[in-house]
Symmetry: C5
């Protein structure tokens, strides 16, 4: 997340459409995988140059080109030239600070999505931008690095499971979007677990570290929200577009994925509410603890300060203090002190401080 | 509520339309009940297999099939095949994390609702998903477990009370929805009672347990809200749909149930406002108590510290302290101390600390 | 307000349209008053049974039937039968937990409004539901108890003041709505007075009772809001309806009453803002007072603790303490103490604690 | 502002359209000024009765009638009769608690605006209601008292500066509205100045008086907001109306005045944000100061309490305390005390309390 | 920002369309630069009077006139006369308190934008108003002072890089808008950096200066927001306008710049959320620190006050205190004191205060 700060400025002053990678470089070399499939068969190759892959495009089967690594402007440019893509679209692919969006360019539909990982090692959220181009019989997906979210889809294509090889390119695009959004649920489960842990901690032992953890959670929610809210609009746009690129039978599936997005948003809002409730609890319990500390101090001080005063009285060196001469003066004084102390304790009990 | 966390991930990577039960399994074996009725008569049977029930479907009477238990994918799949239902719909029925929604599939209308129970034993909210399919002359309802919310409806059908046997399937669907939403009022009454109890507690004795109770209430409201808000849209959709499945005379009843939903939402929002007000009160009363504790400490310390100082003065062992030799020195000192103490007390009274 | 809790549940499980009174019973016996008037004359009778009144309905004059007391389902049912009203409408009349609303049933328009009283004895807000049915030449109003809000209207009809006897039934309905909304202003004036009193109290002497009063005010605003917000929509609906029941010349008056509703809403929102500002002030002034208490304690302790320490030093019983033998040791010590005390005081003055 | 409370109730129970002045009476006698102008000439007279002025109305020039003082129902009624105005409109003119609004009555357009003054003597905001009636060749303006906001417009008409004498009545109405809204900027400048002053005060010396000032500012913003928000809608309505009373060339000017209104709203919202930020700062700085006070107390107490204890030890009168007999016992004790004190100080420095 | 306060009032009372500079004068003399270019060539001149430049206007190439300094009403008026611009538009150009907006005047489109700089010397945000007029083959831009934001555009025109010389005036206008919005990203990067620094500071050492910095950041966000939110609407208006001044091929670029605006808004909202989270953290850590201070005080006082009391007891001068005569009385007392102290310490450890 912190990588954002010194990259955007690279863009300033450049003409629009200039291809410059904005964001962190997450992979060494870009990798291009092509899967060409129809109902009967499925071919899969890795290529170096986009030029190698396009004979695939000519037949009637569906081609899925996946590019891992978007920092290489040459590759992106080549793809753009081959498919006659708009320069602004190419710029968007390479700039990882896009909001999720859907743009209908007529011959193809362009989508930007955010893939969210929880980096277990550093215990922080990682965001990866995924761009999709849906054409008449091809889908091109751009990832920042190799990822495993699309692997199940790949498996299904290879094995011919589900409908992915029976319906056209728009269904393939849908399955990719669906895979990304399904992954959000995994992430939200993790967040839900953390929230429960923290709530337990809050009740048993609220320490500053807990506050820090709550704050981190809150930040994650801010980022998640930023990634998911615009997604809703994007998918809704996809569902409502009148583009012929989206087959009619896919509409129902898009409605389903839209429902999932709303579910994700609902969960995020619920978590936000719960986290802000936790902050309140934390602050109240800090106040409670301070109150308790104060009570201990007050009880001790209020009991002993008057007693010490009495002891001070009889520690004075006046030549004539009659009580000092009394045989039982000392014990009488101790008795008075004990009575005073007990009265104080009773007072505190009445006040429910004890 | 906490069950959500380790189930959703089961879905990840599976092709859409795969039938997998997501959620807690709340009943051992699924149970299918069929009630077939028209103005004249009413038959009721329990069946094992959905295949056994469909001769009912052929005549002109209304058939209500209720399935308790949705974890058995075979049963769900069979129903889907019999009625030619969309696979995504079946997936939704089995995934208990759906939002309330209404979907018009043309031949039938699909609704997801949330039934909310207050589990008295564990003193927590329980959510059960209820799915409804409304066809031309049948209604199919899916519950997670056997419940008693639909029992009054069953009774009415058996006894022929009300209009339920006079109007068609859409009226039956309406009565089921109405039964669920009526149950929300029972729940909200319970919440209202709790809020009043807590408000009384807050005034008499605010303790951390009260805070915990407020917080729990707040969480319940978050979940309630999540269940009811989308319901509004769903019912509004039902009311406005142009589907011929909804008889015209039922429209007025749907408007009524929509009004009830709004009433529920209003109450939830009111309760939320009141709960957040209670949190403010709690925090203020903690502050007030701390203030009171501080005052006691300050009064005691402020009175006795100077007096103890005076006693300390005359406890010094200087060879030449003239006052010590005075005949009435001791009593003069006591008098001065008393005067000082009284001045302090008057000062505190003036400050309204006493 | 607290009456809500054990009544709604009566409805659960009953078929829709069942006539059951939900709410508190505020009057012993229902009372029916009929006022029949046209430009020339005005008749007024009290009847027991609704059947007695309807010859009035046949001529061309306007009939206003007012029913005080809605707990008697027989009376409501009779009216329903006479006028052929929808059963859900009758149910709504008897259920006092309706939201304000407007429903156009074609032959008649149904409205639910909330009358708000300030119960001076118990110093709390009371809500009464008023239902209106506007037909072609009659208006039927249902109140929970006898009230004086409609008395001025009655007077005007009797005396033929204003336009009420010159325009038709829709103008009569308007005057009734106007009377209710005008009453809100009286209520808001009372609230405004209370707010000002409390603000003064806050400045002079913030005590927990003030907090309680603020909290009560806040709750009242929550209820007021709940009653008035939906009213806006209802009256707007009335204004925009294309029903022929509303005479054209009445439109301008409805616009006026709509303006008043907005004014009421504006005032409520303003009061809410002010009340939440008062809570902030209360909390800050508690903090301020605690700060002041702390300062007194700190000044006293910080001055006397070191002095007491010095006194303690010379109270030690070491055989060889040279100072103790000095002729002016005692006075020198007192002098040092005085200087120390003055330095402390100057320090506190510099810190602006004094 | 506080005058509102005992006036609205005057209206309750009266038939709509009754002319009663609601609000504070700000001027002794109403004053009517008529300015009749066209491109060539400009006549100006003061009249007592509205009947005297209307020969002006017959020619093709533009007539501006300004009435200062709206408490005289006779004058208002006369105007109403002369121009055949709707009784509700006249009621609105006399009731100073209207919201800003625009109503198109066909033959004329009615507007209510709020003029806001800062009363320098009492240092509070004053609100005056201004009503405008725009007819085909006349504008009538009603003010609560004589004001100087319209003086520049009067000057411009007299001197023929600007376009005011070249375009028709709608341009005159626009200049009056513009004059009022321009005055808001003056007011907001004052508020901006106050906010800056207070921010400086907050940083240097946060005292309860500052809090009071912030609170007053907040209240002023609440009232300003209430006056300006509905204005936006009113002016937008004026801009979008299809009434022929608004000359086409005036549209652009109305758009301009609409922009100004939005600017005013923007500023109010910005000020609100800033004021609420100031409250946060105030509360934090109170906390900070309390923290500082606590630290001083703790440092003093923590250093001297243990030392006093040591002194107390050697002040005991046991017959056998070996240290008391030591030659350097006293100095050793002083040394130990000094070392202890220094250790404490170092500890506090490490904790950054010093 | 603080300059706003004594300028707006200059406008009050003046006829609309009066040309008066409102705002701070940031440059000595206005400077006019004209760049005339087409696909083949590019001429650039500096002129004194606008009259000198317009032969450029007659040919088919695109002319960009940039005016630095808007305080000279003569220059503005001349331009207005030459191009027949609306007087209100000229007034808007000279009044630097405009909101960003887009107005379609038919023959030309007028836009107001805000350029935001971070003034490194004074460490504060600076706002400059930029107005653009887009005509059929010219663009006129007005800046408050010479700036470098447009320099890259100038360079591209000179060198013929990008499309700027190939497409018409609307593309030029787009590049200018794009340059301004791109600059926002630079600013937001700076803000992001500051937020991270402050978060680190908050964790390590929260001091009042940190609070001040958070507050300043919050204010900057308020101003940024005020500048950018209306921009969204303005650019959206530009995108959707049906004016023929916008070439069709530029539409896609405007959509892109609109996306950027949304991205900026998103970032601002995210920063606002983060800053408000920081305020919470600051307040909690102040509370935490106070709690810690209290604990130290309480531990010290609670341990030593009772011990000092015991010492006080045996410091009393009663003639008969048996313990004083005991041989090991002193050591026994010391032992008792040590045991008491240790018990206290164990108690505090149990309470987790240590």
């Amino acid at each position: 997340m912190t990588k954002q700060k010194n990259k955007d400025s690279k863009m300033t002053g450049l003409p629009p459409g200039t291809l410059i990678h904005v964001g962190e470089r997450k992979i060494e070399n870009a990798k291009i995988t092509v899967i060409n499939h129809n109902k009967e068969e499925c071919h899969e190759i890795n290529i170096k140059d986009i030029g190698d892959c396009f004979p695939f495009d000519k037949n009637s089967s569906v081609t899925w080109i996946n590019i891992d690594g978007i920092h290489n402007s040459e590759i992106i440019e080549n793809i753009g030239k081959h498919l006659n893509l708009h320069p602004l679209l190419l710029e968007d692919i390479m700039n990882t600070h896009q909001r999720p969006k859907m743009e209908d360019y007529g011959d193809y539909i362009f989508m930007v999505l955010k893939m969210l990982y929880h980096n277990a090692e550093q215990d922080k959220l990682e965001i990866e931008q995924v761009s999709l181009i849906l054409g008449s019989n091809y889908v091109i997906s751009f990832q920042e690095k190799e990822g495993d979210v699309f692997n199940p889809v790949r498996e299904r294509i290879r094995k011919g499971k589900g409908k992915v090889r029976k319906i056209g390119a728009s269904y393939l695009a849908y399955t990719l979007i669906d895979a990304i959004i399904d992954h959000y649920f995994v992430l939200l489960e993790g967040t839900g677990d953390k929230i429960e842990e923290l709530e337990e901690e809050l009740v048993t032992q609220p320490i500053p570290k807990t506050l820090q953890a709550i704050h981190n959670l809150k930040r994650e929610m801010i980022y998640l929200r930023k990634s998911v809210w615009p997604l809703r609009e994007a998918i809704s746009g996809l569902e409502k577009t009148e583009s012929t690129l989206i087959e009619e039978s896919v509409d129902m599936y898009l409605r389903d994925v839209y429902d999932h997005t709303i579910q994700v948003i609902d969960s995020i809002e619920t978590f936000r509410d719960m986290i802000s409730g936790m902050l309140d609890i934390y602050l109240s319990s800090i106040s409670n603890k301070m109150n308790e500390v104060m009570k201990v101090l007050t009880i001790i001080a209020t009991i002993f300060i008057p007693l010490t005063f009495i002891a001070g009285i009889y520690g004075m060196n006046f030549v004539y203090i009659p009580e000092l001469q009394w045989r039982w003066g000392y014990f009488a004084t101790l008795f008075v002190m004990a009575v005073l102390g007990i009265i104080m304790l009773l007072y505190f009990r009445k006040k429910k401080w004890l």
